[in-house]
């Protein structure tokens, strides 16, 4: 069986176009079906699995899939941290080109100057969705005492208040967003066909490769790191940054959490302009004196609050728990449980697994010869803690970015997953083995700002606004 990993999301359309008319052309894939595993009408020996793009290099490197198609930047993101992984980039496709650009606000860009001069500054803050590449780049540039914030997304929203430089992937013709200045480009590529190195050495993938080969483009671009001196010497400089706005900084979530946060804000009687049902602005205006608002990813909020970049934020208890599982001493805590966006974080297994407890499940897997228990989750720290507490023995946490229900049973034994109704779990022939905890949306605050009167006033409004039907006792 040849197993191929293809991307979902924005890249689905260009990949489907590239595969059109080839033996790997799947009507369901092209149509954007929500099914994660696709067959091919005339090829019983080929399985296609749809993943979030960033998961594909990991899955191919692990050997769960022999071939994959994903952005070259995600390949470099994996190889920046794990150069020895069994991942072979084979050839690029002529679609999905983009660049990893360094963006800064104009005032900071003017101070920083050319790349080679950045090491004069101490404590530069670099934010990126590509955390491994960001670490590699700052080490290569010999930055002094840099801070790298690996975030789930929306890195362009951070400069200048919350980061100095954002490493952001921009499409080929995409201009720098939000008035930021593009200072350098470190990586350029399109989509790549990648293979598991062992599979390439030992399996006949010829037909599948021949199907993909006509869509190949000439190799160009890739990772480009400038040569810099190891040390420019001289005392370190401090970058001048905009003054932190006085008062309280509040972070609100985008994405799936937004409707729940919006309802909670309305329950509290707080008026917002630029954060509604239909529109989201990066910096909405709030009708409360002494408060400024910014929209960021809910996953990143616990860290942002711990860092002091926000005083309070509305996020999920799941993301707070995941952050604190990794950094238990971080000065962020839940202040108000808003009671909305309620779902269970659960350990999910294959519905056919004849087990009702973790011990029984372990016995089944061991009896089948599987010693390494793979725990897939969008919450890697919670998954790690769960595996330790449940004494899974030899285990492997597989961090995933989404499309999670498709991982069990082929690519993981357990999925640590949030489920509101359980319907998606059942639809994917999965079953909840046990619930880990219940998540709701909540207000988190920086521990050192507990006594701020403006913050206390906001908290009181949120507390009063929690509907009795959603209140957690």
């Amino acid at each position: 069986m040849i197993r191929i990993a293809l991307p979902t999301g924005d890249m689905r359309r260009p990949v489907a176009q590239a595969l059109a008319g080839t033996p790997l052309d799947s009507p369901d894939y092209a149509a954007g079906s929500r099914v994660y595993r696709l067959g091919l009408p005339d090829r019983g020996d080929v399985t296609i699995r749809v993943f979030r793009e960033r998961d594909i290099p990991i899955q191919v490197a692990l050997g769960n899939y022999q071939l994959g198609v994903c952005g070259g930047v995600w390949v470099e993101e994996l190889r920046a941290r794990y150069p020895a992984e069994d991942l072979s980039p084979l050839f690029p496709l002529a679609v999905g080109r983009g660049r990893l650009a360094a963006l800064a606000a104009p005032e900071q860009a003017a101070q920083l100057g050319p790349l080679e001069e950045w090491q004069r500054f101490s404590g530069l803050r670099v934010v990126s969705e590509f955390g491994n590449l960001a670490e590699k780049i700052v080490a290569h540039l010999r930055l002094r005492r840099p801070r790298v914030y690996a975030v789930y997304g929306g890195a362009h929203a951070y400069p200048p208040e919350d980061a100095d430089i954002a490493l952001v992937h921009l499409g080929e013709d995409q201009q720098s967003p939000d008035g930021l200045v593009e200072m350098a480009s470190f990586h350029e590529s399109g989509l790549w066909v990648v293979a598991n190195r062992r599979a390439l050495a030992g399996l006949d993938l010829g037909e599948a490769l021949a199907s993909l080969r006509p869509a190949a483009a000439a190799v160009e671009g890739g990772l480009r790191l400038p040569t810099v001196a190891q040390s420019l010497g001289g005392p370190p400089l401090a970058l001048e940054r905009p003054e932190r706005p006085a008062g309280v900084r509040l972070a609100l979530p985008d994405g799936h959490q937004q409707p729940h946060a919006l309802a909670s804000v309305r329950d509290a009687g707080i008026e917002l302009d630029g954060y509604g049902d239909a529109d989201v602005q990066l910096r909405p205006r709030i009708a409360v004196d002494g408060v400024t608002v910014k929209v960021v990813r809910p996953q990143d909020m616990p860290q942002l609050v711990a860092l002091g970049q926000f005083d309070m934020a509305i996020t999920g208890r799941d993301w707070l728990a995941d952050f604190l599982a990794c950094f238990p001493d971080a000065p962020v805590e839940m202040a108000v449980d808003l009671g909305r966006s309620r779902y269970h974080i659960a350990a999910v297994v294959d519905e056919d697994l004849p087990a009702t407890t973790v011990d029984e499940a372990l016995a089944c897997w061991h009896a089948r010869g599987r010693r390494m228990i793979r725990v897939a989750s969008e919450y890697p720290n919670l998954a790690d803690r769960y595996a330790r507490q449940r004494r899974l023995g030899r285990y492997q946490v597989v961090p995933i970015a989404g499309a999670s229900e498709g991982f069990v049973p082929e690519d993981a034994e357990i999925l640590i997953e949030g489920s509101e109704t359980g319907k998606t779990i059942v639809a994917n022939r999965l079953r909840v083995l046990e619930r880990v905890f219940e998540s709701t949306n909540c207000v988190v605050i920086h521990r050192g700002r507990r006594d701020d009167p403006v913050l206390q006033g906001l908290l009181e409004r949120f507390r009063r606004g929690v509907p009795a039907t959603t209140a957690v006792t």
Binding site: A84, A139, H140, V148, Q230, G233, L307, F327, P328
Partner: protein
């Protein structure tokens, strides 16, 4: 619990040291400690975890090595600051000096520590280093002291064919600066020269004033003091900044000659061109490179001591152990065997073991059966409680010392 699959339980690239290997390691370590202590070096130990930025910004590690460090966010690493498993011995000691030992100037510090660097496959991912750092003393005399510590340690370990290769980082530095190259270009050019790139030699030659040939750097692999004299005559007054490095190198080489240390001059030696500022050296045992070091003045800038001169070296312990083949040796352990399970026999065996320990003899108590020959502690005849059991039979002894002497004879 016993392993249930064939998968190895030891992390790839990490190694265990078995008793004989550990004994050899200790002998080498003892030789290093004895010699460095005799030269006034005091041992320090630094933590396995350090901040990553110490290594990235101080310019001590090449980009290739930086890609192989074990760095991660600690449990309190929410601020985005990474820590690293110590990938190098010098920077932590320099940090220690800057934070806690400034009043020791000149500081003679020694360490025996493990460093961690990722390697693929079964290549080692950790290495032990025996190293010294001499902080606050500069010039050729300090360089010579470090070389002396290294050579004496090697000889103490029984190494044959000890050779020191020496160079001066200032030679390449002066030539590359004279060629008008920027700092980043100098790094790239130096790497090309070190790799033996002839095109780079020609390119450099074309850039040097007065049509000098840079081939003098590559056409001589190893040479004596005469080569330094020739370089002085050829380049000394034509390339700014070259006279002092050549003079320092000559002093070192001539002194080593007088001390009868086998020494060779190598024009390009150290890979970390920007890290080293003065004399650099490598120790060879036969064909094996077992360690080296050099002068890194300026490195202490990161602890606010840019004007403090410093130099150091380290032995790579596995390379050195392979090159000198230290016999593990060590005392044989006397097996005191009990064949009856009663408190009186146990107590007699334990008391006998203690008597041997006090006499400096290793002895351990065990139950039968045990490999022959061995001593059995048997109270059936309390006047003669020791039974020497061997292939030839069993004989009773009343005196532990006599029984031990006979056991040793049988063993030999």
């Amino acid at each position: 619990m016993s392993p249930t699959s064939a998968a190895p339980l030891r992390v790839r690239g990490m190694r265990d040291l078995l008793p004989d290997e550990m004994a050899a390691f200790r002998k080498l370590e003892d030789a290093f400690r004895d010699v460095s202590s005799a030269w006034g070096y005091r041992e320090v130990r630094t933590p396995a975890l350090e901040y990553l930025h110490l290594f990235t910004s101080a310019g001590t590690l090449s980009p290739q090595l930086l890609d192989r460090v074990y760095s991660f966010l600690d449990w309190d690493g929410w601020s985005g600051e990474r820590v690293v498993l110590r990938p190098d011995g010098t920077i932590p000691v320099a940090r220690l000096f800057g934070e806690s030992a400034r009043d020791l100037l000149p500081a003679r510090l020694a360490y025996v520590q493990e460093v961690y660097r990722f390697a693929t496959g079964d290549q080692p991912r950790s290495e032990w280093q025996c190293g010294t750092e001499l902080i606050g003393a500069g010039g050729p005399l300090a360089d010579l002291e470090l070389i002396a510590v290294g050579v004496e340690t090697l000889r103490r370990c029984g190494a044959q064919a000890v050779r020191v290769r020496v160079s001066h980082a200032g030679i390449a530095r002066a030539l590359l600066a004279a060629a008008g190259l920027g700092r980043a270009e100098q790094v790239a050019m130096y790497d090309a020269l070190l790799a033996g790139d002839r095109a780079a030699v020609e390119r450099l030659g074309a850039l040097l004033p007065g049509a000098l040939s840079a081939a003098v750097l590559l056409d001589v692999a190893e040479a004596g003091v005469g080569y330094v004299t020739n370089l002085q005559a050829l380049l000394g007054d034509r390339v700014p900044g070259l006279a002092e490095p050549l003079a320092e190198l000559r002093t070192v080489v001539e002194t080593l000659d007088r001390l009868h240390v086998d020494c060779a001059v190598t024009p390009l030696l150290a890979r970390d061109f920007e890290y080293y500022r003065g004399v650099v050296f490598r120790f060879d045992v036969g064909e094996a490179d077992v360690g080296g070091g050099g002068r890194y003045d300026g490195l202490l800038e990161f602890v606010g001591a840019a004007d403090v001169p410093a130099s150091g070296f380290a032995f790579d312990v596995p390379s050195l152990l392979a090159a000198v083949r230290i016999e593990p040796g060590g005392p044989l352990t006397v097996p005191l065997v009990v064949e009856r399970d009663d408190p009186a026999t146990y107590a007699a065996a334990m008391a006998a073991a203690k008597r041997l320990h006090r006499a400096g003899v290793a002895a351990s108590v065990m139950r039968a059966p045990a490999p022959l020959p061995h001593l059995v502690v048997d109270l059936e005849d309390p006047a003669r409680p020791f039974v020497l059991r061997s292939d030839g039979g069993a004989e009773r002894e009343g005196d532990l010392g006599a029984a031990l002497a006979r056991l040793e004879r049988l063993r030999r």
